[in-house]
Symmetry: C2
Subunit: 340 residues, 2 copies
């Protein structure tokens, strides 16, 4: 039913090896024969099975991508850009969504990518154990996040620098009560982004001689809804903030929503800064810190491809991408400069 290489070989009156060589453009086939074979192959609608080819050649021409979300903007952008680079290079992409604890365990228990992919790019930051399991795969590994991991080509941004841009901006405007929306204390330790951003926030407050107030820090779960709940909590503080730094644009948008519900004007009553430069940040006029998202996916994919092409070659351990402050409409001076 499905046409195989021997079918083509017979039809073209040659051996299977010749068909294989001809179709893959390898040397050692006369032009005449090669052309005849191509014609026969396409008339029969033949395409080599990548699985079988991979089995024989030990190259699957497939990448694995591990992600905690597909539907969230940041991850979607990265998968999209990585896929473009890979398909351009002739690679397929096997996608694993390990967002739930359950799916994650299942993945690391089975490691279904074993012998199935030539390289793996992960958007979830592996625990030490998980990282070890991945290293055991014996293939090039890539990671996108704010800090390097041994054994992985890592692409990321300087979360601290980005955060400093955001918080410094609020300080320069005269804010002294600056709230933080990030992850709560339950955040997994291996996912460094929120930790780094929080530390930079604390650092800047300290530098400005402002005392940290836990009452104006809340967990926004890195989602719109979580950001909304977090902002609501901040507003209920005994002394609410005049400005808020949200660790992601999605949480910032949730915060904006909460403010609207409370009939508070932005930035007159409260200023808000996000992080990411989400596609819709411009639509809502959100002041934020931009990071090149798609570029990170493309770069990571390209580095892994390079590693596959040139196994002995040197690979950077960490590639940092630039961050950039983007001033829009959600930040302004505090209303009561003398309030604090």
């Amino acid at each position: 039913m499905t046409v195989s290489i021997t079918d083509v070989a017979k039809a073209a009156g040659v051996s299977a090896s010749t068909v294989s060589r001809a179709l893959r453009g390898r040397p050692g086939v006369s032009d005449a024969v090669r052309e005849r074979i191509s014609r026969v192959a396409s008339s029969l609608g033949y395409t080599a099975s990548r699985n079988a080819a991979g089995l024989a050649s030990r190259r699957t021409l497939t990448f694995g991508v591990l992600t905690p979300y597909v539907g969230r903007w940041f991850f979607g952008q990265i998968i999209d850009s990585a896929e473009r680079v890979l398909s351009e290079a002739g690679y397929d992409l096997l996608l694993y969504n390990v967002g739930s604890e359950e799916a994650r365990e299942r993945f690391f228990a089975d490691l279904p990518v074993r012998k199935r992919v030539d390289a793996l790019l992960t958007l979830v930051v592996p625990t030490e154990e998980e990282a070890a399991a991945l290293r055991g795969l014996g293939i090039p590994l890539g990671l996108i996040v704010g800090g390097a991991r041994p054994g992985f080509v890592t692409v990321g941004i300087d979360d601290r620098a980005g955060t400093r841009l955001a918080v410094r901006h609020l300080l320069n405007l005269g804010h002294r009560r600056i709230g933080l929306i990030g992850t709560g204390p339950t955040a997994p330790m291996h996912w460094t982004t929120p930790i780094e951003r929080r530390l930079a926030y604390l650092e800047l407050l300290a530098e400005a001689g402002i005392e940290y107030d836990p009452e104006i820090e809340a967990d926004g779960e890195f989602t719109v809804e979580g950001g909304e709940r977090a902002m609501t909590r901040l507003l209920a503080a005994s002394r609410p903030p005049t400005a808020v730094f949200a660790q992601s644009d999605e949480m910032a948008m949730g915060a904006l929503r909460a403010l609207r519900r409370h009939r508070l004007r932005v930035p007159r009553d409260v200023s808000v800064v996000g992080f990411d430069d989400h596609q819709l940040a411009e639509v809502v006029g959100l002041t934020t810190v931009a990071q090149p998202v798609a570029a990170q996916g493309a770069e990571a994919a390209a580095l892994l491809l390079e590693q596959l092409r040139n196994p002995g070659g040197e690979v950077p351990e960490y590639v940092g991408m630039p961050v950039r402050f983007v001033l829009r409409d959600t930040t302004g001076p505090p209303r009561d400069l003398d309030r604090d």
Copy 2:
């Protein structure tokens, strides 16, 4: 280096067949042996190669997903939800982004999924030729879109009904000059969504005795930026609209942005309705038509799985999902009721 089934067989003192049977839970292995094998396998870190297994069994336990975008909200949601259902069922997901004309041609020329997937779900609406090529794969096929296609299990919504909800709302508010942002005349004919939505818009205008004015229809390319440009064009019309129906929330958000730039207030000066109920629609208070996006992906995946489990079984040709009108803050009565 990488441990194979024979390694496990040797270590456990049995044959490879027995290992295969034991690990896959097939009958015909004594409990004692089965347990010994599992222990040995996991101590060796053995996982069967899905590629090799697929070659032998002719079942790849893999789904192919064809999509025009990954990073856009609608598609990301669908891929996400489909992936959940599939990984739950033990299937892997091979993702193909055929957004560019080039990638699309490459995909249909090679059909790299051939012999590589057990079923295929497509989020791009294939042309007749492409559909034929896919049918030639001889595997269950799924499609997510607003209309059925022969040979595909199709999941979708009633685009006309959804559009009617949106436009009727504007009419009820008293609007008579209602603009349309969708795709231009260059839209590919096989992608029915914009066509259907446009037809429903025209129908309703006709029913209301309003003459269609091409000057207040513009192409928004189904993106935020495109929507912004389209709205700008509508505002430049000799008689600008008092309300706009955007065929997607992303375009509607672009329209909102354009209105803000023009210092027009929403809904006082112009009303805007979108379509989709994007995650951030609530944040910007966008009135829209909601469709169950994730549910469509999950349903399509489930239907294909069912088809794989029960090849002879009956399959619905088309599964329609409900749409629902969501009233928020971007719509109101026209300012000058007597203006038109």
